[in-house]
Amino acid sequence: MAKFTFVGGIHPYDGKDLSKDKPIKEILPKGDLYYPLSQHIGAPATAIVAKGDHVLTGQKIADATGFVSAPIYATVSGTVKGIEPHRIAVGDTVNCIVIQNDGLYEEVNYEAIENLSDISKEEILNRIREAGVVGMGGAGFPTHVKLSPKEPDKIEYVIVNCAECEPYLTSDYRRMLEEPEKLIQGLKASLRLFDNAKGVLAVEDNKPDCIALLKKLTKEEPDISVAALKTKYPQGSERQLIYAVTGRAINSTMLPADAGCVVNNVDTVVAIYNAVMLGRPLMQRIVTVTGDAINDPRNFAVRVGTIYEELIEEAGGFKTEPEKIVSGGPMMGFALFDTNVPVTKTSSALLCMTKDEVAAYEPSACINCGMCVEACPGRIIPSRLADYAEHGDMEQFEAHNGMECCECGCCSFVCPAKRQLTQSIKSMRKMVLAERKKK
């Protein structure tokens, strides 16, 4: 039933050539590190260190608060300077544990295992949970929750989201090329949890080298296949990806498990590998630092907590003064006020643009052209929903499938009148969700 694509979507300039041939380079933080207590969906973690404490690399500094939450680990050795509010990439100011790096990188010992078969399913889940693994594609949903559906036997597909459909991003691409074994091992660890599931590595067909490599490495694996997806944004959006791989469609009220699927992105699956096999917590991620304002676009292996400014320096600084800096990709990333914000578990890229295309255009009247309708992967009518949103008409908004929007940004991208469609719909969705919580 695989379709390898979905209806709608767009083909923006992908900008991946800037950084796709740059090998991953590990960088070490120089300044203080900031660990926001909320780097995931769910309850913020609870700090378990206090000002003045000495911590080691890999030491837990904040523990999960309840089931839908995740612990946080120190990624350097040093001294806790305090717990104070600091700006994070999405623009909020949240409580962060601040650690002064002593530059020694003294590390705790990890409990590695030899074989996956040495441990039980419960232990696998526990290791993932303890390691603080969350969805590193952007949402930050705690991975152990994803991997604990009500009926694990009904899961038929464990999909690794290797689409990397966001323009400019090459972190997953480099990871697949450089550490494919870890990816496959991580997938195998996830597959252990589901007796009836097959693993699918779903890659967009603009990465033929990754497809060939992964196919070669999984040749002997009967339970793992590689799916070449049509290159189109937002191919990596969870619902569209599940549809492309399985032909099953879920709406906003359903979970991937309802379609017999579990979906994790590349970095997350590598984090699962590290957690299960090596006993290492989630401390590092790949960040693409790119854009036409950057001197030397690169892919860095970065320790969580590092301040973005350091990444810009490592990439040779600015070639030209950037007008806009985005944490994440250009379609769904967050624009930054300034670069004094930390890398979190969900930071995939730092995109520095000389021109802000949004500010360059002034929104004008909708001409009803329907381009947003053609582009919308959710098969809704963005222009009308934006009207309802702008008029504060919650009832009509919900009645016309407003909650089915996945906020991918296709409508705003294509709109010839340059209306802020995604923004309006997004704000209204937030209001509807807040309203529902009240009830």
Binding site: D338, T339, E357, S364, A365, F413
Partner: protein
């Protein structure tokens, strides 16, 4: 940090297509028909076109200045309206017809309803119908230097035979821009190629109309009759350039098919059972009025609710 960056909600990139680039594409697509009209009917046709376009653009400018609104003539939509209206005028119509028609199209049909995107009726067609009713003899007099007498459709209606080849090329009496099927199709192909329009509305319109003719015209499967009906009376200009007007056609996909089918049926009724030989303009403006209803019954299903395959 001293210099704060620009922030905005996602997405942070935009396609290069703008309202004015779409409107320029429509103007370019209308050039073959425009040029043929000028070649076919002479200098007066050119003057009429220029005056009509000037009238629509100036009407918009003056209205917006008078109402202290933002001037929007740069989006070129008024140029498109003016050009379309002019192509729907008889070649020898006096220039003041273009002036009045242009002003009516913009001020009454478009601006009074809220300007671009808010009008429920195609401004050019609204103005044409206004002119047809108000100045019937001028608007139905297609005599000119090159051709005298009836339009091909009127001849068919009276039971006379017509030269289909001349109709396809455009060497017949008619409004300035409606006569040459070839010129219109060239422009339409360009619009389809650049992605400005698709075949949903024109395709379903034309197919339905042909089916209607076969069933109800009494000519059955008479190929030359059908080709003549398709080539005459502004059907091609209407189907590709006016029924496809974004603002006044349904935004839903299925609605667009339904809209085309409706236009095909209405045009068939007007042409076969009506007193006049033509019917495209009225069919489209009546279709325009039904758009809200069509959209209501064709609102799409969302992804995951059955709409993923559409």
């Amino acid at each position: 940090m001293s210099n704060l960056m620009k922030v905005s909600s996602n997405p942070h990139i935009r396609s290069k297509v703008t309202t004015s680039s779409i409107m320029s594409a429509v103007v370019i697509a209308l050039l073959p028909a425009t040029c043929f009209g000028i070649y076919n009917f002479g200098l007066h046709a050119l003057l009429l076109i220029l005056v009509t376009v000037a009238s629509t653009v100036l009407s918009e400018l003056i209205y917006e200045k008078a109402m202290k609104q933002k001037v929007t003539i740069k989006d070129l939509s008024a140029v498109v309206t003016g050009l379309l209206l002019a192509l729907n005028l008889p070649p020898k119509a006096p220039l003041w017809i273009g002036v009045i028609g242009g002003a009516f199209a913009i001020i009454v049909v478009k601006m009074l309803f809220g300007g671009l995107g808010q009008n429920f009726m195609n401004p050019a067609l609204g103005a044409r119908c206004f002119l047809l009713i108000s100045f019937t003899s001028i608007m139905t007099n297609f005599d000119c230097d090159a051709y005298t007498g009836a339009t091909p459709l009127a001849s068919i209606k009276m039971g006379e035979s017509v030269n289909v080849l001349n109709m396809v090329i455009g060497k017949t009496a008619g409004t300035i821009g409606e006569t040459s099927v070839i010129a219109i199709i060239i422009g339409a192909c360009f619009l389809i190629m650049v992605g400005a329009i698709d075949l949903r509305v024109p395709g379903s319109y034309i197919v339905t109309f042909v089916v209607f003719l076969i069933l109800f015209s009494g000519h059955g499967l008479d190929g030359s009759y059908i080709s003549a009906e398709l080539s005459g009376g502004g059907l091609m200009l209407g189907a590709f350039f006016m029924a496809t007007d974004y603002v006044t056609r349904p935004i839903t996909k299925n609605g667009q098919y339904l809209f085309g089918i409706l236009l095909g049926i209405l045009t068939g009724i007007f042409r076969i059972f009506g007193a006049s030989a033509e019917g495209v303009s009225y069919a489209i403006i009546i279709g325009n009025l039904l758009v809200p209803l069509i959209e209501k019954i064709t609102y799409p299903k969302a992804f995951g609710k059955g709409g993923e395959r559409a």
